[in-house]
Amino acid sequence: MTTKPLPVPPARSRLEAEPLPRRDFLGLAAGWTAGSALLFSIVGMLRLPKAAVIPAPSSRFRVSLPDSLAPGTAFLPPGRPVAIFREASGVYAISTVCTHLGCIVQAAPDGFRCPCHGSMFARDGSVVRGPAPKPLPWLEVRKTGSGLYVVDAKKTVPPGTTETA
């Protein structure tokens, strides 16, 4: 490929560095307005994925304790991450959601063990071993007129709070 040598460029050429006019108010205003409109719409879009309401059913449920439930034995209502105890001092419920990374702990003779990372909890929920940073929370239990207990899996109470059996 051969090219002729270019002649000397004329005075005004596109090859000449030519800055934008310094004060292009209209262009700057238009650009910035468009930019802020797009930015504002992106902020709106980013709000969308954060759900305004959580589609979770009520965390309260009723449970009836079997008469044969011995003190020190956990009663595990099916489908609920809760262990319920009936002691001489009263009835109380402990969450069985591990405070480490949310696995469901399993009842052991001396408390609870987490199958995922080996955390161990005592029967009152306090951490005995493993990576769990906090004890298992105690949950609100209320006795209804008809002998049932209403447990709220979302409402924690200070450890040691019991409901009369």
């Binding site: 490929m1 051969t2 090219t3 002729k4 270019l6 002649p7 004329p10 005004r12 050429s13 596109r14 090859l15 000449e16 560095a17 030519e18 800055p19 934008l20 262009g27 238009a30 650009g31 468009a34 409109a37 719409s41 709106g44 879009m45 709000r47 969308l48 994925p49 954060k50 759900a51 305004a52 309401v53």
Partner: protein
């Protein structure tokens, strides 16, 4: 051993120095050509950027005139981008399953932050896209921009039209309300309408393309969960991918075909550029294009120097950004004025009456009311084929790039518009007033009605008129102008009739206020 080490600076100080300069280096490595402040740096900014390099570095002054395109292609692209973004956002909450689809749309409407707004924008941008894709096609046609070398890009454009309509149609079912359910039921049965012919011929048992089409579309006999999943898949995956691929080809072709079509004497008509516009390349060509000699075929850029061109940045970008934001503004206004429709939960037992397809299919639905096969498949196929063949049948060069350019010009268009409106209105009025063959002769064979119905009569009239115009002006372009204008008139009139003048049982009513029971 590097020079820095030799200069006695410790690695720690060099590390700190590198750390300090990292932000600047990051910018410099991202935008290698530096700040786009000069003509040259702006040029390299454009072709050095993956998103911008679809643009030519320089565009002709003719292309930047508003009247050249009215920005219709960019509006269509903008509408597509808006539907793309809002659509992806809606997918955070939409659940494509019959039991919950409707509820999830209700949730989007009522509780999802910005959800209702996003859905409205999505819906309106989709409508804008359908309108502008048709308007864009009309612009390209009337400015005779399908001429060589742009013939194939016109065909790609037809594909984009079909995919756009497909996207709108598949999106229609997703809310799973009465409107959706019955519109899709009708659409699916249109797909099945070749049975009208195969039944009449008695060969459905062996050859049933209609049944196959419906089965492929719905995955079942009726509109149900299978259909919803298929429509969802088409709507969010297959068709957007197809559209994106076709768009890439379309844009690439625009570049390769030398930008927008313009009249041969565009420079003369534009006159000298205003002094304030800089830089405009007005010098005589200084390059020869030896490379062209080794490339087969016609390279359109040969002989076209950069005279009368402007740098794409900022001239073209301001235009594009302006049109884009205009589209955004229009969609926002529409979204705030009117909510996307959502009727009752779909009820397979109680049909909507009238059950209407999306508005852009109501012209087809009007034709379908005469013959399902002809209205739903036959005539649309003929129209698409006819439109697609236009660049190959009209190869005149006169008037390229001019509105209503070519022999006959605006006069042919106006005549054709008058004929097109009169013909479709007359045939429709006749059919509405006197009925059609079935009413006069109940035992008429179906094939006769399929072949001779208001839809085919209108199509035949248009074809005959176009042939007559072609011979009268001794010009294929005149014939094409007549045909396209007639097609547009027919489309608009039938759509208006289907939208505003058809009520329960597809009866004719002057206004919805006269519908029984309302």
């Amino acid at each position: 051993m590097s020079g820095d080490a030799a200069s006695g600076r410790t690695a720690t100080s060099r590390f700190l120095e590198n750390l300090r300069s990292t932000p600047r280096r990051l910018r410099d490595t991202a935008f290698r050509s530096g700040a786009p402040v000069t003509d040259r740096s702006r040029s390299s900014f454009v072709f050095g950027n993956v998103f911008l390099h679809l643009h030519a570095v320089r565009v002709h002054r003719w292309s930047l005139r508003w009247a050249t395109t009215w920005g219709l292609g960019v509006v269509t692209l903008a509408a597509f981008l808006i539907t793309l973004v809002t659509g992806v956002l809606l997918m955070f909450y939409y659940k494509p399953y019959p039991d919950v689809a409707y509820d999830s749309i209700k949730d989007i409407h009522f509780v999802v932050p910005t959800g209702r707004f996003m859905r409205n924008i999505h819906r309106w941008a989709a409508n804008v896209m359908v309108v502008t894709v048709i308007a864009h096609m009309a612009r390209v046609f009337y400015t005779a921009s399908y001429r060589p070398p742009r013939e194939f890009n016109w065909v790609v454009g037809m594909g984009l039209l079909v995919v756009t309509l497909g996207l709108s149609f598949t999106g229609y079912l997703l809310p799973w309300d009465q409107l959706a359910y019955w519109a899709i039921t009708i659409g699916a049965n249109i797909a099945q309408s070749p049975r009208e012919v195969t039944d009449a011929l008695g060969i459905t048992h062996w050859f049933d393309p209609g049944g196959l089409q419906k089965l492929l579309l719905l995955g079942s006999e009726d509109v149900g969960e299978e259909a919803l999943i298929r429509f969802h898949l088409l709507h969010v995956m297959i068709l957007p991918l197809a559209l994106t691929a076709l768009l890439a080809v379309h844009f690439w072709r625009v570049r390769k075909d030398g930008g927008l079509a313009r009249p041969a004497d565009a420079e003369r008509r534009l006159g000298p550029p205003e002094a304030s516009i800089f830089p405009v390349f007005t010098e005589a060509p200084q390059k020869t294009y030896h490379l062209a000699a080794v490339v087969r075929g016609r390279t359109p850029a040969v002989g076209d120097g950069p005279e009368h061109t402007l740098p794409a940045m900022p001239h073209l970008f301001y235009a594009e950004a302006g049109v884009f934001m205009l589209t955004v503004a229009v969609c926002l206004v529409l979204s705030l004025v009117s909510d996307a429709p959502l009727k009752e939960l779909a009820n397979p037992a109680v049909p909507e009456n009238p059950a209407k397809a999306p508005w852009y299919f109501l012209g087809i639905q009007e034709l379908v009311s005469f013959s399902a096969f002809m209205g739903g498949i036959g005539i649309p196929a003929i129209v698409l084929l006819g439109l697609g063949l236009i660049p190959y049948l009209d190869r005149e060069t006169e008037g390229t790039g001019d509105w209503f350019g070519g022999r006959g010009g605006l006069a042919v268009v106006l005549h054709a518009a008058a004929f097109g409106l009169d013909a479709v209105l007359a045939v429709e009025a006749f059919a509405i007033r006197f009925g059609w063959i079935r009413q006069w002769w109940p035992a008429a064979p179906q094939l006769l009605i399929t072949a001779v119905n208001p839809g085919t009569v209108i199509a035949a009239l248009y074809a005959a008129y176009s042939l007559w115009t072609m011979r009268r002006h001794d010009s294929t372009r005149a014939g094409a102008l007549a045909l396209f204008t007639c097609f547009l008139c027919g489309f608009v009139v039938l759509t208006v009739i289907g939208t505003y003048f058809r009520g329960p049982n597809w009866e004719f009513y002057w206004s919805p206020a006269q519908w029984p029971g309302h």
